[in-house]
Protein backbone atom coordinates (compact mmCIF):
# COMPACT_ATOMS: atom_id res chain seq x y z
CA UNK A 1 0.00 0.00 0.00
CA UNK A 2 2.76 2.53 0.78
CA UNK A 3 5.33 3.01 -1.99
CA UNK A 4 8.13 4.87 -0.19
CA UNK A 5 9.32 6.28 3.10
CA UNK A 6 11.27 9.52 3.25
CA UNK A 7 13.29 10.42 6.34
CA UNK A 8 14.88 13.76 7.22
CA UNK A 9 17.25 14.48 10.05
CA UNK A 10 20.04 16.73 11.19
CA UNK A 11 21.89 17.24 14.46
CA UNK A 12 21.23 14.35 16.83
CA UNK A 13 19.64 12.10 14.25
CA UNK A 14 22.51 9.75 13.42
CA UNK A 15 21.89 7.23 16.18
CA UNK A 16 18.15 7.29 15.62
CA UNK A 17 18.51 6.66 11.90
CA UNK A 18 21.07 3.92 12.60
CA UNK A 19 18.60 2.15 14.90
CA UNK A 20 15.80 2.47 12.37
CA UNK A 21 17.94 1.11 9.53
CA UNK A 22 19.20 -1.71 11.72
CA UNK A 23 15.61 -2.81 12.36
CA UNK A 24 14.66 -3.07 8.70
CA UNK A 25 14.45 -6.55 7.22
CA UNK A 26 16.45 -7.37 4.12
CA UNK A 27 13.23 -7.69 2.13
CA UNK A 28 11.79 -4.35 3.30
CA UNK A 29 9.02 -3.81 0.74
CA UNK A 30 9.60 -0.16 -0.22
CA UNK A 31 12.49 2.24 -0.84
CA UNK A 32 13.85 4.47 1.94
CA UNK A 33 14.81 8.00 0.88
CA UNK A 34 17.21 9.64 3.31
CA UNK A 35 18.01 13.32 3.47
CA UNK A 36 20.38 14.04 6.33
CA UNK A 37 22.35 17.21 6.81
CA UNK A 38 26.05 16.53 6.45
CA UNK A 39 29.40 18.20 5.95
CA UNK A 40 29.91 19.18 2.35
CA UNK A 41 33.64 18.44 2.15
CA UNK A 42 33.33 15.00 3.66
CA UNK A 43 32.17 12.97 0.72
CA UNK A 44 33.03 9.51 1.95
CA UNK A 45 32.48 7.73 5.22
CA UNK A 46 28.87 8.64 5.95
CA UNK A 47 27.18 6.09 3.72
CA UNK A 48 29.63 3.45 4.98
CA UNK A 49 28.85 4.32 8.60
CA UNK A 50 25.12 4.05 7.95
CA UNK A 51 25.57 0.79 6.05
CA UNK A 52 27.46 -1.12 8.74
CA UNK A 53 24.45 -2.18 10.73
CA UNK A 54 21.66 -1.43 8.27
CA UNK A 55 19.32 -4.25 7.33
CA UNK A 56 19.03 -2.90 3.78
CA UNK A 57 21.76 -1.66 1.41
CA UNK A 58 22.36 2.10 1.66
CA UNK A 59 23.72 3.89 -1.40
CA UNK A 60 24.47 7.42 -2.51
CA UNK A 61 22.66 7.41 -5.82
CA UNK A 62 23.86 8.60 -9.16
CA UNK A 63 21.73 11.09 -11.00
CA UNK A 64 18.67 9.48 -12.71
CA UNK A 65 19.06 6.18 -10.88
CA UNK A 66 15.86 4.14 -10.74
CA UNK A 67 14.38 3.90 -7.26
CA UNK A 68 13.96 0.30 -6.13
CA UNK A 69 12.28 -1.30 -3.11
CA UNK A 70 14.46 -2.47 -0.25
CA UNK A 71 17.23 0.05 -0.93
CA UNK A 72 18.13 3.15 1.08
CA UNK A 73 19.03 6.24 -0.97
CA UNK A 74 21.14 8.77 0.91
CA UNK A 75 21.26 12.30 -0.54
CA UNK A 76 24.93 12.82 -1.55
CA UNK A 77 26.92 15.57 0.09
CA UNK A 78 26.58 19.02 -1.50
CA UNK A 79 23.66 18.02 -3.78
CA UNK A 80 19.92 18.38 -3.40
CA UNK A 81 18.10 15.11 -4.03
CA UNK A 82 14.79 15.30 -5.91
CA UNK A 83 12.40 12.49 -6.69
CA UNK A 84 11.17 12.64 -10.28
CA UNK A 85 7.56 11.76 -11.14
CA UNK A 86 8.89 8.68 -12.99
CA UNK A 87 10.44 7.48 -9.69
CA UNK A 88 14.00 8.30 -10.50
CA UNK A 89 16.52 10.25 -8.45
CA UNK A 90 17.48 13.66 -9.78
CA UNK A 91 20.38 15.51 -8.19
CA UNK A 92 20.78 19.27 -8.21
CA UNK A 93 23.47 21.81 -7.39
CA UNK A 94 20.99 24.66 -7.11
CA UNK A 95 21.55 27.12 -4.29
CA UNK A 96 21.13 25.84 -0.70
CA UNK A 97 17.63 26.04 0.83
CA UNK A 98 17.37 26.81 4.57
CA UNK A 99 21.19 27.05 4.43
CA UNK A 100 21.17 23.37 3.54
CA UNK A 101 22.25 21.29 0.59
CA UNK A 102 20.88 18.66 0.59
CA UNK A 103 17.69 20.32 1.77
CA UNK A 104 15.13 18.08 3.48
CA UNK A 105 12.29 20.32 2.28
CA UNK A 106 13.17 19.64 -1.35
CA UNK A 107 13.49 15.87 -1.01
CA UNK A 108 10.21 15.71 0.92
CA UNK A 109 8.31 18.03 -1.43
CA UNK A 110 9.36 16.20 -4.60
CA UNK A 111 8.81 12.79 -2.97
CA UNK A 112 5.31 13.94 -2.00
CA UNK A 113 4.59 14.95 -5.59
CA UNK A 114 5.88 11.63 -6.90
CA UNK A 115 4.25 9.29 -4.34
CA UNK A 116 1.22 11.36 -3.17
CA UNK A 117 -0.81 9.34 -0.64
CA UNK A 118 1.57 6.40 -0.89
CA UNK A 119 4.33 8.16 1.05
CA UNK A 120 5.41 8.10 4.68
CA UNK A 121 7.41 11.16 5.78
CA UNK A 122 9.42 11.13 9.01
CA UNK A 123 11.24 14.09 10.57
CA UNK A 124 13.85 13.31 13.20
CA UNK A 125 16.02 15.32 15.58
CA UNK A 126 17.60 18.44 14.11
CA UNK A 127 18.77 21.95 14.80
CA UNK A 128 17.05 23.98 12.09
CA UNK A 129 13.70 24.33 10.38
CA UNK A 130 14.52 22.49 7.19
CA UNK A 131 11.96 19.73 6.64
CA UNK A 132 8.96 21.46 8.21
CA UNK A 133 7.61 22.72 4.89
CA UNK A 134 8.40 19.40 3.20
CA UNK A 135 6.49 17.42 5.80
CA UNK A 136 3.55 19.77 5.32
CA UNK A 137 3.55 18.91 1.59
CA UNK A 138 3.61 15.20 2.41
CA UNK A 139 0.50 15.66 4.55
CA UNK A 140 -1.23 17.96 2.02
CA UNK A 141 -0.83 15.42 -0.76
CA UNK A 142 -2.31 12.64 1.32
CA UNK A 143 0.77 10.96 2.77
CA UNK A 144 1.47 10.03 6.37
CA UNK A 145 3.29 12.73 8.37
CA UNK A 146 5.33 11.58 11.32
CA UNK A 147 7.81 13.27 13.68
CA UNK A 148 10.11 11.86 16.27
CA UNK A 149 8.84 12.67 19.77
CA UNK A 150 10.57 15.99 20.62
CA UNK A 151 11.03 14.81 24.21
CA UNK A 152 13.29 12.11 22.88
CA UNK A 153 15.19 14.31 20.38
CA UNK A 154 18.71 15.45 21.16
CA UNK A 155 17.81 18.71 19.37
CA UNK A 156 14.12 19.60 19.13
CA UNK A 157 14.11 22.56 16.71
CA UNK A 158 13.32 20.58 13.59
CA UNK A 159 10.53 18.44 15.03
CA UNK A 160 8.96 21.42 16.82
CA UNK A 161 9.03 23.50 13.63
CA UNK A 162 7.32 20.61 11.83
CA UNK A 163 4.66 20.27 14.52
CA UNK A 164 3.96 24.00 14.34
CA UNK A 165 3.29 23.82 10.61
CA UNK A 166 1.45 20.53 10.27
CA UNK A 167 -1.14 18.50 12.13
CA UNK A 168 0.94 15.35 11.94
CA UNK A 169 -0.46 11.83 12.04
CA UNK A 170 2.01 10.46 14.56
CA UNK A 171 4.45 11.72 17.19
CA UNK A 172 6.52 8.62 17.79
CA UNK A 173 9.53 7.51 19.77
CA UNK A 174 12.28 5.67 17.92
CA UNK A 175 10.83 2.37 19.09
CA UNK A 176 7.36 3.29 17.85
CA UNK A 177 8.76 4.36 14.47
CA UNK A 178 10.52 0.99 14.21
CA UNK A 179 7.32 -0.84 15.10
CA UNK A 180 5.33 1.16 12.54
CA UNK A 181 7.81 0.36 9.76
CA UNK A 182 7.99 -3.31 10.73
CA UNK A 183 4.24 -3.61 10.12
CA UNK A 184 4.53 -2.45 6.50
CA UNK A 185 3.77 -5.04 3.91
Amino acid sequence: MYKAVVIGGSAGSFQVISKILMSLPKNFPIPVLLCLHRLKHVRSGFVEALSIKSGIPIIEPYDKDNIKPGIGYLAPSNYHMYIELNKRIALSTEEPVNHSRPSIDLTFETAAQAYRDKLIGIILSGANRDGAYGLKKVKQLGGVAMVQDPNECQVKTMTEASLKLTAVDHIFTTQQIIKFLSNLK
Binding site: Y62, K64, P76, T93, Q113
Partner: protein, 276 residues
Protein backbone atom coordinates in the same frame (compact mmCIF):
# COMPACT_ATOMS: atom_id res chain seq x y z
CA UNK B 1 4.53 30.11 3.60
CA UNK B 2 2.56 28.59 0.76
CA UNK B 3 4.70 28.74 -2.35
CA UNK B 4 3.42 29.25 -5.86
CA UNK B 5 3.04 25.92 -7.62
CA UNK B 6 2.98 25.32 -11.32
CA UNK B 7 0.57 22.67 -12.55
CA UNK B 8 1.61 20.07 -15.07
CA UNK B 9 -0.56 21.53 -17.85
CA UNK B 10 0.95 25.00 -17.39
CA UNK B 11 4.42 23.45 -17.32
CA UNK B 12 3.78 21.78 -20.68
CA UNK B 13 2.33 25.00 -22.14
CA UNK B 14 5.43 26.92 -21.11
CA UNK B 15 7.73 24.29 -22.60
CA UNK B 16 5.79 24.42 -25.87
CA UNK B 17 5.94 28.21 -26.14
CA UNK B 18 9.66 28.30 -25.37
CA UNK B 19 10.11 25.77 -28.17
CA UNK B 20 7.74 27.27 -30.77
CA UNK B 21 8.49 30.94 -30.26
CA UNK B 22 12.08 30.94 -29.05
CA UNK B 23 13.55 27.70 -30.37
CA UNK B 24 14.73 26.65 -26.90
CA UNK B 25 13.73 23.04 -26.37
CA UNK B 26 13.41 22.46 -22.62
CA UNK B 27 11.25 19.36 -22.96
CA UNK B 28 14.18 17.10 -22.19
CA UNK B 29 15.17 18.96 -19.08
CA UNK B 30 14.54 17.02 -15.85
CA UNK B 31 10.90 17.79 -15.16
CA UNK B 32 11.15 18.41 -11.41
CA UNK B 33 14.03 20.79 -11.96
CA UNK B 34 12.35 22.67 -14.80
CA UNK B 35 9.09 23.09 -12.90
CA UNK B 36 10.80 24.22 -9.71
CA UNK B 37 13.01 26.62 -11.63
CA UNK B 38 10.06 28.26 -13.39
CA UNK B 39 8.19 28.49 -10.06
CA UNK B 40 11.14 30.22 -8.45
CA UNK B 41 11.58 32.56 -11.41
CA UNK B 42 7.89 33.49 -11.20
CA UNK B 43 8.17 34.11 -7.46
CA UNK B 44 11.38 36.15 -7.61
CA UNK B 45 10.07 38.34 -10.43
CA UNK B 46 6.55 38.74 -8.98
CA UNK B 47 4.98 37.32 -12.13
CA UNK B 48 2.20 35.59 -10.13
CA UNK B 49 1.34 32.74 -12.50
CA UNK B 50 2.08 30.96 -15.77
CA UNK B 51 0.08 33.46 -17.83
CA UNK B 52 2.04 36.46 -16.51
CA UNK B 53 5.27 34.53 -16.96
CA UNK B 54 4.48 33.94 -20.64
CA UNK B 55 3.40 37.57 -21.08
CA UNK B 56 6.55 38.69 -19.31
CA UNK B 57 8.94 36.87 -21.60
CA UNK B 58 6.92 37.70 -24.73
CA UNK B 59 6.84 41.43 -24.02
CA UNK B 60 10.31 41.86 -22.70
CA UNK B 61 13.38 40.26 -24.28
CA UNK B 62 15.35 41.04 -21.13
CA UNK B 63 12.99 38.92 -19.06
CA UNK B 64 13.60 36.07 -21.45
CA UNK B 65 17.37 36.53 -21.20
CA UNK B 66 17.23 36.59 -17.42
CA UNK B 67 15.13 33.40 -17.55
CA UNK B 68 17.82 31.70 -19.66
CA UNK B 69 20.43 32.81 -17.15
CA UNK B 70 18.29 31.38 -14.37
CA UNK B 71 18.08 28.04 -16.21
CA UNK B 72 21.88 27.86 -16.55
CA UNK B 73 22.18 27.32 -12.80
CA UNK B 74 24.99 29.25 -11.16
CA UNK B 75 27.96 27.23 -9.97
CA UNK B 76 27.97 27.97 -6.27
CA UNK B 77 31.70 28.17 -5.68
CA UNK B 78 35.20 28.18 -7.18
CA UNK B 79 37.06 24.85 -7.08
CA UNK B 80 33.89 22.96 -6.11
CA UNK B 81 34.99 19.47 -4.94
CA UNK B 82 38.64 20.28 -4.20
CA UNK B 83 39.64 16.62 -4.66
CA UNK B 84 38.97 16.72 -8.40
CA UNK B 85 41.05 19.90 -8.72
CA UNK B 86 43.87 18.28 -6.75
CA UNK B 87 43.77 15.34 -9.15
CA UNK B 88 43.92 17.74 -12.11
CA UNK B 89 46.80 19.64 -10.54
CA UNK B 90 48.91 16.75 -9.31
CA UNK B 91 48.32 14.03 -11.89
CA UNK B 92 46.30 14.84 -14.94
CA UNK B 93 47.20 18.24 -16.39
CA UNK B 94 50.92 17.93 -15.74
CA UNK B 95 50.91 14.74 -17.80
CA UNK B 96 48.73 15.72 -20.72
CA UNK B 97 49.45 19.37 -21.42
CA UNK B 98 53.25 19.89 -21.46
CA UNK B 99 54.51 19.53 -25.02
CA UNK B 100 51.03 19.93 -26.47
CA UNK B 101 50.38 22.85 -28.74
CA UNK B 102 46.92 24.35 -28.87
CA UNK B 103 45.50 22.17 -26.13
CA UNK B 104 41.74 22.74 -26.41
CA UNK B 105 39.49 22.63 -23.36
CA UNK B 106 35.71 22.89 -23.77
CA UNK B 107 33.05 23.85 -21.22
CA UNK B 108 29.77 22.81 -22.91
CA UNK B 109 27.74 24.89 -20.43
CA UNK B 110 29.94 27.39 -18.69
CA UNK B 111 26.99 28.89 -16.70
CA UNK B 112 28.34 31.39 -14.15
CA UNK B 113 31.96 30.67 -15.06
CA UNK B 114 33.54 29.37 -11.83
CA UNK B 115 34.86 26.19 -13.48
CA UNK B 116 36.41 28.23 -16.32
CA UNK B 117 38.11 30.65 -13.93
CA UNK B 118 39.17 27.80 -11.62
CA UNK B 119 40.79 26.01 -14.54
CA UNK B 120 42.43 29.21 -15.76
CA UNK B 121 43.89 29.87 -12.31
CA UNK B 122 45.09 26.29 -11.98
CA UNK B 123 46.82 26.47 -15.39
CA UNK B 124 48.34 29.81 -14.48
CA UNK B 125 49.77 28.31 -11.27
CA UNK B 126 51.11 25.33 -13.23
CA UNK B 127 52.56 27.69 -15.87
CA UNK B 128 50.72 25.79 -18.58
CA UNK B 129 48.24 28.49 -19.61
CA UNK B 130 50.10 29.51 -22.76
CA UNK B 131 49.46 26.12 -24.41
CA UNK B 132 45.73 26.20 -23.83
CA UNK B 133 42.73 27.42 -25.81
CA UNK B 134 39.38 27.54 -23.97
CA UNK B 135 35.96 27.13 -25.58
CA UNK B 136 33.00 28.12 -23.41
CA UNK B 137 29.42 27.53 -24.53
CA UNK B 138 26.30 28.76 -22.76
CA UNK B 139 22.59 29.14 -23.36
CA UNK B 140 22.83 32.46 -21.53
CA UNK B 141 24.11 35.60 -23.20
CA UNK B 142 24.01 37.39 -19.84
CA UNK B 143 26.30 34.79 -18.30
CA UNK B 144 28.78 35.12 -21.14
CA UNK B 145 28.84 38.91 -20.69
CA UNK B 146 29.28 38.56 -16.95
CA UNK B 147 32.15 36.09 -17.33
CA UNK B 148 33.89 38.32 -19.88
CA UNK B 149 33.62 41.24 -17.46
CA UNK B 150 34.92 39.01 -14.64
CA UNK B 151 32.15 39.85 -12.15
CA UNK B 152 31.39 37.50 -9.32
CA UNK B 153 29.39 37.65 -6.11
CA UNK B 154 31.58 39.06 -3.28
CA UNK B 155 29.60 36.96 -0.79
CA UNK B 156 31.35 33.96 -2.33
CA UNK B 157 34.82 35.21 -1.43
CA UNK B 158 35.03 33.25 1.81
CA UNK B 159 34.02 29.85 0.43
CA UNK B 160 36.15 30.40 -2.70
CA UNK B 161 39.23 31.22 -0.64
CA UNK B 162 38.68 28.21 1.63
CA UNK B 163 38.49 25.88 -1.37
CA UNK B 164 41.62 27.42 -2.86
CA UNK B 165 43.49 26.62 0.36
CA UNK B 166 42.46 22.99 0.05
CA UNK B 167 44.34 22.78 -3.24
CA UNK B 168 47.22 25.23 -3.11
CA UNK B 169 49.65 25.71 -0.28
CA UNK B 170 51.19 28.76 -1.92
CA UNK B 171 49.75 32.12 -2.81
CA UNK B 172 46.26 33.46 -2.29
CA UNK B 173 43.17 33.35 -4.44
CA UNK B 174 43.11 37.13 -4.04
CA UNK B 175 46.17 37.24 -6.33
CA UNK B 176 43.58 36.73 -9.08
CA UNK B 177 40.71 39.03 -8.17
CA UNK B 178 39.96 42.58 -7.06
CA UNK B 179 37.40 43.29 -4.41
CA UNK B 180 35.55 46.54 -3.85
CA UNK B 181 32.78 47.19 -1.35
CA UNK B 182 29.95 45.42 -3.14
CA UNK B 183 31.77 44.13 -6.17
CA UNK B 184 34.38 41.56 -6.93
CA UNK B 185 35.94 40.73 -10.27
CA UNK B 186 38.46 38.30 -11.65
CA UNK B 187 41.55 39.26 -13.55
CA UNK B 188 40.05 38.80 -17.01
CA UNK B 189 43.46 38.28 -18.62
CA UNK B 190 43.13 34.76 -17.18
CA UNK B 191 40.53 33.97 -19.81
CA UNK B 192 41.78 35.98 -22.78
CA UNK B 193 42.29 32.71 -24.66
CA UNK B 194 38.60 31.89 -24.54
CA UNK B 195 36.20 31.57 -27.45
CA UNK B 196 32.62 32.00 -26.23
CA UNK B 197 29.81 30.25 -28.06
CA UNK B 198 26.19 31.29 -27.54
CA UNK B 199 24.00 28.27 -28.15
CA UNK B 200 20.46 27.12 -27.77
CA UNK B 201 19.90 23.80 -26.06
CA UNK B 202 20.56 21.62 -29.07
CA UNK B 203 24.03 22.34 -30.36
CA UNK B 204 24.29 23.50 -33.96
CA UNK B 205 27.79 24.68 -33.46
CA UNK B 206 30.40 22.98 -31.34
CA UNK B 207 34.18 22.90 -31.39
CA UNK B 208 36.18 19.93 -32.70
CA UNK B 209 39.54 18.46 -31.75
CA UNK B 210 38.96 18.93 -28.04
CA UNK B 211 41.43 17.38 -25.61
CA UNK B 212 39.58 17.99 -22.36
CA UNK B 213 35.89 18.56 -21.62
CA UNK B 214 34.74 19.88 -18.26
CA UNK B 215 31.02 19.30 -17.86
CA UNK B 216 30.36 18.84 -14.17
CA UNK B 217 26.90 18.96 -12.64
CA UNK B 218 25.10 20.21 -15.73
CA UNK B 219 23.71 16.96 -17.11
CA UNK B 220 21.86 16.46 -13.82
CA UNK B 221 19.41 19.08 -15.06
CA UNK B 222 18.54 17.00 -18.14
CA UNK B 223 16.54 13.84 -18.58
CA UNK B 224 18.17 10.70 -20.02
CA UNK B 225 17.34 11.59 -23.62
CA UNK B 226 19.17 14.90 -23.49
CA UNK B 227 21.98 13.40 -21.40
CA UNK B 228 22.59 10.79 -24.05
CA UNK B 229 22.54 13.42 -26.80
CA UNK B 230 25.17 15.48 -24.95
CA UNK B 231 27.31 12.42 -24.29
CA UNK B 232 27.34 11.62 -28.00
CA UNK B 233 28.21 15.17 -28.98
CA UNK B 234 31.01 15.24 -26.44
CA UNK B 235 32.35 11.94 -27.68
CA UNK B 236 32.42 13.36 -31.21
CA UNK B 237 34.27 16.48 -30.10
CA UNK B 238 36.99 14.70 -28.18
CA UNK B 239 40.17 13.57 -29.89
CA UNK B 240 41.11 9.93 -29.20
CA UNK B 241 42.83 9.90 -25.81
CA UNK B 242 41.00 13.09 -24.80
CA UNK B 243 39.49 13.39 -21.33
CA UNK B 244 35.96 14.04 -20.09
CA UNK B 245 35.21 15.14 -16.53
CA UNK B 246 31.64 15.06 -15.23
CA UNK B 247 30.12 15.59 -11.77
CA UNK B 248 30.75 13.26 -8.83
CA UNK B 249 27.34 11.66 -8.94
CA UNK B 250 26.83 11.71 -12.68
CA UNK B 251 27.57 8.75 -14.87
CA UNK B 252 28.26 7.95 -18.48
CA UNK B 253 25.40 5.66 -19.06
CA UNK B 254 24.52 4.74 -22.60
CA UNK B 255 24.64 1.52 -24.51
CA UNK B 256 28.23 1.58 -25.77
CA UNK B 257 29.93 3.81 -23.20
CA UNK B 258 32.21 0.96 -22.10
CA UNK B 259 33.56 0.73 -25.62
CA UNK B 260 34.04 4.49 -25.84
CA UNK B 261 35.77 5.36 -22.58
CA UNK B 262 38.32 4.14 -20.04
CA UNK B 263 37.69 5.16 -16.43
CA UNK B 264 40.63 7.22 -15.17
CA UNK B 265 39.14 8.02 -11.76
CA UNK B 266 35.80 6.66 -10.62
CA UNK B 267 35.62 8.78 -7.48
CA UNK B 268 36.24 12.00 -9.43
CA UNK B 269 34.35 10.93 -12.58
CA UNK B 270 37.27 11.33 -15.00
CA UNK B 271 37.12 9.40 -18.29
CA UNK B 272 39.43 8.99 -21.25
CA UNK B 273 38.23 8.41 -24.78
CA UNK B 274 39.67 5.20 -26.19
CA UNK B 275 42.21 5.45 -28.96
CA UNK B 276 40.19 3.54 -31.53
Amino acid sequence: MNKFELGIVDTRTIIKILQDVYDYDFKNYALTFFKRRVENFIRINNLKNAEFFIQGIEQDPETFESFLKFMAVDITEMFRDPSVWRLLKEELLVNIIPGATNFKIWFPEVSSGEELYSMAILLNKLKLAQNVQFYASSISKLNIEKIKAGFFDPRKVEVNNANYKRIFSEGELSDFYTQEIEKAFWDTSLIENTKFIKQNIIFDDYPKGIKLIIFRNQMIFYNQILQERFLKIMHNCLVPGGHLIIGNNEKIDYWNSDKDYITVSKSESVYKKKLS
